[in-house]
């Protein structure tokens, strides 16, 4: 019941509150209040803990269920290291998380979530509770930020990012520009402004406007591999291959684990017919993302063009294997969402 209420609160109330009040921080305050009420409802007065439990852990669970988290937590924490029954251990962990949230004991919550996800990585209930626990934790921290540093650039940044996720591009842009007024050299802000430009419906100026922001970002932070990558991608889409190669190369130099940058670099070299040069970056992409079908496909073509037939064949087989796997995972492959509906 509590889960249902919490979910209803998060799913149903949050968007409306956010839309109504305009900023995420205010929304989070309300959301937190809402969810706190839900959680606190488990602690309604008049309910007393059961005392005839056969063991300490059962007693702890009963106390937690009846909202007596203060008494329940020590019993539950003691029970975990000695628990042998997996199901009971999981129930205990989940109860610790819930009580930790009620009592706002963040370290207790985080520790429990860590071992729960380690020991039960595919258990739906664990994943569900983890999702909401982190959400509640984030809410709590956002509240703290709002309370203690409402005018800070971090508060504005958090607010702007939230507006971004809601697709409120103009409001998010205004927030970011507000930050730049007081902190013109703050890294990451021009990057986000560029990202907003690219997220909106394209206009004739989209590419150039976005490029300006990413270049401005690199003026402030020359080590921003993401900005280099996006500039490379924009150049690639415009078939400006030399510029694309330049940016992708810088991105890979700045971040040796940037698989997409290696892929972009290999793709651009391939487009120019520089197949031998494309092999190296594409091999890196495959190493970094062995389950990426596109990387295997590109590498297979590059191998084939450089006469490495066996390698090309191997990569094509890997492409087909990873492609099938990805298709299975997405349950419908390349189909539009509407086409994934089950036939009747």
């Amino acid at each position: 019941m509590r889960q249902a209420l919490t979910r209803a609160c998060l799913v149903a109330f949050a968007p409306r509150l956010c839309a109504k009040d305009g900023t995420m921080i205010r929304s989070l305050v309300l959301l937190f209040s809402c969810c706190s009420v839900v959680v606190a409802s488990a602690q309604a007065p008049g309910k007393t803990p059961t005392t005839d439990s056969p063991s300490a852990v059962d007693r702890g669970l009963q106390l937690a269920r009846s909202g007596h988290c203060q008494q329940a937590l020590p019993l539950l924490k003691k029970a975990v290291p000695v628990a042998t029954d997996k199901s009971l251990k999981m129930k205990t962990g989940l109860a610790i998380v819930r009580c930790g949230l009620v009592l706002q004991q963040m370290d207790t919550v985080v520790n429990a979530l860590l071992w729960l996800n380690r020991d039960f990585p595919t258990e739906p209930e664990v994943l569900y509770v983890t999702t909401h626990a982190f959400s509640d934790l984030a809410t709590n921290v956002a509240m703290q930020l709002a309370r203690t540093a409402r005018g800070s650039y971090q508060a504005h940044e958090l607010n702007a990012e939230t507006l971004e996720t809601q697709g409120k591009w103009d409001e998010a842009t205004a927030e970011y520009n507000q930050i730049l007024k007081s902190n013109p050299d703050l890294p990451g802000i021009h990057y986000r402004l560029g990202r907003i430009i690219l997220s909106q419906p394209a206009t004739p100026n989209t590419v150039e406007d976005a490029r300006k922001e990413f270049r401005a970002e690199l003026q402030i932070d020359p080590n921003n591999a993401g900005a280099e990558y996006v500039l490379g991608e924009l150049a690639r889409q415009q078939q400006e291959w030399d510029e694309a190669i330049l940016h992708f190369e810088r991105a890979t130099q700045l971040d040796a684990s940037f698989a997409d940058a290696f892929l972009g670099l290999g793709y651009s070299l391939k487009a120019l017919g520089r197949y031998a040069e494309a092999v190296g970056p594409l091999e890196s992409a495959v190493k970094l993302q062995p389950e990426n079908p596109t990387a295997h496909y590109q590498l297979s073509i590059a191998y084939g063009k450089t006469g490495q037939k066996e390698e090309a064949k191997r990569e094509m087989e890997l492409f087909q294997r990873t492609s099938e796997k990805a298709s299975e995972q997405t349950n419908g492959g390349n189909l539009p969402a509407k086409e994934r509906a089950s036939p009747q």
């Binding site: 078939q239 295997h296 094509m316 087909q320 189909l335 539009p336 086409e339 509906a341 036939p343 009747q344």
Partner: protein, 589 residues
């Protein structure tokens, strides 16, 4: 033997050395053929560029000048049965050999019984009168197909080499072979031909005539989509209310079928023996070409949601499927798309046949450049075809040099599969080929008739008025077809080759032509009628020559292996070429 039929300008012999010996015959042919080209009522643009208003459209729809009942009717009446988005095949062929290319349209059927229950579902043959109007001769020709089921594609070809183009109709039910009797009538000769052998409930959507074993008889390859009946039709709906067309992924893949022409109206199903049966697909467009220049015709099949197929002819009656190895199975991310129509032509004039297919909006049309017969490079991004095509759901398409500048442009008949999006009704597109490097969208310049919105499906490329500028015929669901006459608003030169095989198949399908202009520019094309989706185009081979008014040579490599060379040919004519070997002094055979 070579005959010439000038579209305009003086009659000139194409090959000086045969001028005298064939002069009488040439004159006779021309005498019979000149009249049809006096198409006085068709718009003839002024030839001086200075006289042209800038807003003059490239294409004008002249269909409304004729009276005919045909409307593309897929039978949609509530329930969205799976195959209904596919309807409206078109064939451009000269059924009565009067030099004017006629038009044939396929049509749908009533559902769920799949019968042509009323004349609104009848197929249609329109005779080109040569004055910009067409006469409905369906009944006289016996081509209404009233006894057929839901018809999809059509392929025109002279399978018995009697000099008259025959028709093959692809259907949800039995496929049909119509023999052209040469007297304006056709006979259904399917029964006992071997083409009546088809798995039950197989949706055959397209076909192509070609001579895979170069024995002089046209064989037939049939593109099949899936196994389906109205009874087994799946219903797809959002919130159990609003129906939409189901994805083909829920239906099984099936084999492309190959029929070997045994002569005397008999065909043998060689699907399994040839190797085609080992590669199931959801086949759509079929393109026929010799992709590796080994003298044998290969088959490309665009595929809906599965990898495309490329059957390489091994020369011993079998084919090897090599789409993955040659780089045309997937797009450049390794993804499959909803492949629809396809075409195979040399768009960059490098002497190697390239490939294109179209697909649904948000996907990119796939353009593949042939890398010297070894493999293909995906060049949709580099050529801008990707960016240009993203907003469109294409069906039939094809390379067509609409402005005769010597570069084959790309036409696509567009319209979404369903009617659920604000932009479901779409206009067709013309992407102009800029020097074989990149394409630009010139659709709006094609004029308001070209820009008509609809659910466009089949298309044929044909010179309806024999002026050397290729016209377009396009069908659309629920509407009359458009006959988009090319207004020829520049002075570029051209030539149309009307091939007549003797040792090779009569249509010359598969013949490869290299044209060298007076300035030394090389242009390439080959004879095929299978272009786009569900459709069959003018079999004559077209070349735009740009501003060059001289042709140094035309070399034809016939399917029989015969090499024929014509020298110092005048442009701006329809040149009939009878297959005949050219003796090359000093050159070994």
């Amino acid at each position: 033997m070579t005959k010439q039929m000038p579209g305009k300008g003086p009659l000139r012999p194409a090959v000086p050395e045969i001028r005298l010996s064939y002069l009488a015959l040439v004159f006779a042919v021309v005498s019979c053929s000149l009249m049809p080209f006096a198409l006085a009522n068709l718009p003839r643009p002024p030839r001086s560029a200075g006289e042209l208003p800038e807003t003059r459209p490239w294409f004008t729809d002249i269909a409304q000048r004729s009276t005919f009942p045909y409307v593309t009717s897929n039978g949609l009446a509530g329930r969205k049965y799976f195959p209904l988005p596919m309807c409206g095949g078109v064939a451009a062929f000269d059924y009565n050999n009067d030099g004017k290319v006629d038009l044939f349209f396929t049509n749908g059927a009533h559902l769920p019984d799949l019968k042509k229950t009323s004349p609104s579902f009848h197929n249609c043959l329109l005779e080109n009168r040569g004055d910009g109007t067409f006469t409905d001769v369906t009944a006289k020709a016996g081509l209404s197909g009233s006894d057929l089921e839901y018809s999809f594609g059509v392929a025109a070809g002279d399978y018995d080499n009697d000099g008259y183009e025959d028709l093959f109709i692809c259907s949800a039910g039995r496929n049909t072979l119509y023999h052209n009797n040469g007297d304006g009538t056709f006979s259904d000769v399917t029964a006992g031909s071997g083409l009546d052998q088809k798995p039950a409930n197989l949706l055959s959507v397209g076909a192509a005539w070609f001579d895979y074993d170069n024995d002089g008889l046209l064989d037939l390859v049939v593109s099949n989509y899936t196994i389906w009946t109205p009874v087994t039709d799946k219903r797809c709906a959002m919130n159990s209310k609003e129906e939409f067309y189901c994805s083909p992924t829920i239906y099984p893949a099936v084999a492309t079928r190959l029929y070997h022409n045994l002569g005397h109206g008999r065909f043998e199903d060689v699907t399994e023996h040839s190797g085609l049966g080992a590669a199931p697909s959801k086949g759509m467009g079929i393109s026929i070409a010799d992709f590796n220049s080994d003298g044998l015709m290969d088959i490309f099949l665009s595929d809906d949601t599965l990898p495309n197929l490329l059957f390489i002819n091994q020369g011993n009656g079998t084919f090897k499927e090599e789409a993955v190895a040659r780089g045309v199975a997937y797009d450049d991310t390794g993804a499959t798309v909803s492949g629809m129509g396809s075409d195979a032509k040399d768009y960059d004039n490098d002497g190697w046949v390239d490939l294109v297919y179209n697909d649904l909006m948000s996907q990119l049309f796939g353009l593949y450049r042939n890398d010297r017969g070894q493999s293909f490079d995906y060049v949709s991004t580099q050529t801008r075809i990707g960016t240009l095509s993203r907003p469109y759901s294409g069906w039939s398409l094809g390379f067509v040099d609409y402005d005769n500048d010597g570069w084959k442009d790309l036409f696509s008949a567009n319209g979404d599969i369903d009617d659920l999006q604000p932009n479901s009704r779409q206009h067709d597109t013309m992407f102009r080929n800029l020097g074989g490097k990149v394409f630009s969208d010139v659709s709006e310049q094609m004029g308001p008739d070209f820009m008509t919105l609809g659910y466009h499906r089949g298309s044929a490329f044909v010179d309806l008025n024999n002026d050397g500028f290729i016209d377009l015929v396009v069908t659309a669901l629920g509407e009359k077809p458009r006959f988009l006459l090319n207004n020829a608003i520049n002075q570029n030169h051209w030539i149309l080759l009307d091939l007549s095989g003797h040792k090779s198949n009569h249509d010359g399908i598969g013949a490869k032509i290299t044209l060298t202009t007076a300035s030394g520019r090389h242009l390439y094309n080959h004879a095929t009628t299978s272009v786009g989706f569900m459709s069959s185009s003018d079999r004559r081979v077209h070349f735009g020559l740009g501003t060059e008014n001289g042709i140094d040579s035309i070399e034809i490599l016939w399917p029989s292996g015969t090499i024929q060379r014509l020298e110092h040919v005048h442009p701006d004519q329809i040149l009939r070429v009878e297959e005949r070997a050219t003796v090359f002094p000093g050159r070994s055979k």
